[in-house]
Amino acid sequence: MSLKSFHRGYITTSLLVIPLITLVFATALQAQTDDLLEENSFLNMSIAELSDMDVSAVTGATETWFRSPAAVYVITQDDIQRTGHQNIADLLRMVPGVNVAQVSANSWSVGTRGIQGQFTDSMLMLVDGRSVYDPLQYVIRWDTQDMIMDDIQNIEVIRGPGTTLWGSNAVNGVVSLTTKTAEQTQGWLFNSVFGTQLEPIVSLRYGDKINDNTHFRVWSKYANRNSLVHEDGSDAPDDWDMFRAGFRLDVDAPNQLNWSIQGSFFHTDRLGGDSLLPDPTTSFATNYAITDGRISNGYIQATLSQQSNEENKWTIMTSYERSNRSTHDGFESLRDMFEIDYRHRHTINQDMLLIWGGSWRYTSDHTEASSAVAFIPQDKTTNLVTGFLQGSWQFMDDKLALVLGTKLEHNDYTGFEYHPSARLSFTPDINNTFWSSISRAVRTPGRVNSSSQITPFYADTGLLAGGPPSGFIIPIQIGSNGQELSSETLFAYELGYRTHLGNDWTIDWTGYLNRYNNLITTSDTNFGQLTNDLEGEVYGSELSVTWIPSPTLRLEAGYGFSRSFMHGNGESSYENSFPVNQFHLRSYLDIGQDLELNAAMYYVDEVEIQDAESYLRLDLGLTWHVNANLNLSLWGQNLLDNQHSEFFDNDRSMEVSQIPSSVFLRVNMTF
């Protein structure tokens, strides 16, 4: 039996046996239920969970993180303030099993569940319910995901498929960022961060109310971020800045009707970077170029929701976005996107709930080719129509819950797709939850896979044939070349267990096995041809442990383990693209009423194919609450080494950008 066969057999057997064991164990635990806690099932919830509790659903307390049958991690505003990260991608470092690798000063690769490419292409991100997944490049662009950090309510991260409700591309995870309501951001806020890597970030926000039911805020932010460094200590050419401004208006109308309008605009013409451009006159030659990219982007979004009666609640969200982007290699795109999304929650009876909805997304783009990248056709309009239905049933006095659902969608690349999932949770008492799931998820090829032609270099036809130079030079291209690509499919199996041990400890464990088919890769035999000829398995485990020994100290540890086995064309670019082991430890300490000492340590294994060595990162921060309206924070980041690399994109850059140690001071004033 090969090692791979052994692993597959072992995991499959475990997936069958563990649920039985957990069911028996859980039944035994029922006897330990505490009478008091049974009376009030909210008592073990955190403040963040209580804030999220929907009281309009008069039927129970189970829509909580603790009982959810999925691998969910919630980053709160307190976590944001206490970890010192100044961009959204870096915040995800605290999520067990998520790997954040900074590629350059303005580019991050975020991966989970064992697969990670140069960009974040198998996770979906939503901001207040609006998808920010780039429909042209099929990635999350982390350089454009920014806002005033104080205005984030929380970030919920689901590891594993979320396609049943959110559709294609939420294959390995969903990041859902919720901003604060306008009512929560009243008055003035001035925030400035300046240091060796931040020079500076300045944010200004004003919020007020028009009447008791109508609140608004307007805000702006300018961020000027320094470059990373090369191995010899010299500056990498990736410094950048960005200005953005936005607004939000919230209205609580009569009859439990709420509506909200928000919008934002951002711009930069200094998105530093380098690239290796093909030389059309010389075989296999590239020219190194340092150029600034440019982005202009704006969106407006309206959301309307109503709890029309005790059984029904609906939400309709619509948005329009225009984005204009010019990359380092000269490729330009102009994109318009309109989306409308409807969701309805209908309580059938005390044991059954239906959630259903549908959406339509219209995307139109125009592209201008560079010498390295072209989209054919140059202009394209696409439509994506989706519908979903999910039912939830509860049994055994709400201790056992079953969730079944599927999404159906029609896209312009592969036609109809479906994303079914089944989830089961067992909560014998409020201190223990066991859950498992089986999902089928799909990542569609999209515009970038079906239309793009990448030219890494030109070559003499004579040399290509193994003879003398002919003098006739042709482009060597990577793309689908007119061949239709299928969707990548995933069958995901998950198991999870959560427990509260006393009041002080919370443990959250997840194990998973992912089976991928039809992964898109470049052919080993036909150079440059994209194919679906890769498949493989990934298995792993994620663990989060929280200990709150006193009101003034909170410790949290996270661990992620992942192994991948790929078979077929281009397996080397997928297999081992993710660190096998990751670990982090965070400490939040209050010292008296005015001081906080916060620390975080992160360990990440090496990832050979990305030239990323293992690293240990230490961040330390001291915050002084000078008075109710002013606090100052001093932070040191990456304090254990002078610099380290996390990801090297050697197809595009000559030298790896490394993350240096840094310090910064943060001033936060409200009035």
């Binding site: 008091l36 008069v58 909580t64 409700l165 609580d252 959630i355 008296g592």
Partner: protein, 188 residues
């Protein structure tokens, strides 16, 4: 749109009650759960709560019958190792601008005062009990925190949140973790 609301969804099912009273019951349970969390993340001066196992006194000013309902279960509970003692005060007795001596002594011995349905004028009496209060002052009234209370619950159509008055907390002798303060809405 929080994912937990809709995605992970096992939820929203459960109890059979489907009336306004069920909603009200749920809201009150959530408020009690908030209160337990606030207590978990609050430090009182040693002179007021000297030992790890000292009794923590909650005074609840309430004439709705709610306090009686939870008295039994709260009195059995321990929070951060502290046994809980619940005092119920039907209403504040105020004569000549002064809280009755017996009530005043009870309130000053408290670590938490939870005033349900407070009147604005009553908040001033409570905040005036001590120059630097040694108790956590919670309330339900709209604008409770704006009128000097430390933490005031707020109810919207679908959520129960809370306002925090940072100035009132800083002027007290108690220390509340910023974990609590950052998750509430600050009032000025």
């Amino acid at each position: 749109m929080p994912l937990l609301w809709i995605v992970l969804s096992v939820g929203m099912l459960g109890q059979s009650e489907s009336s306004e009273s069920a909603r009200e019951n749920k809201i009150q349970k959530i408020k009690i759960a908030y209160m337990v969390n606030f207590i978990r993340f609050t430090v009182w001066p040693e002179s007021h709560l000297p030992n790890d196992d000292s009794t923590l006194v909650i005074s609840m000013i309430d004439n709705s019958g709610f306090a009686q309902k939870i008295q039994g279960s709260l009195s059995k509970a321990k929070i951060n190792q502290h046994p809980i003692q619940l005092h119920i005060i039907d209403e504040l007795k105020i004569t000549d601008g002064q809280i009755h001596e017996e009530q005043k002594n009870k309130l000053l011995a408290s670590h938490v005062i939870y005033y349900r349905n407070a009147h604005k004028s009553d908040i001033e009496f409570l905040t005036g009990l001590q120059d630097q209060p040694q108790f956590l002052l919670l309330g339900d009234m709209k604008d409770f925190a704006e009128h000097g209370g430390m933490i005031g619950f707020k109810e919207s159509s679908s959520k129960v949140g809370f306002y925090v008055n940072i100035n009132a907390i800083r002027q007290s002798k108690i220390q509340i973790s910023s974990k609590v303060l950052r998750l509430g809405t600050t009032v000025r």
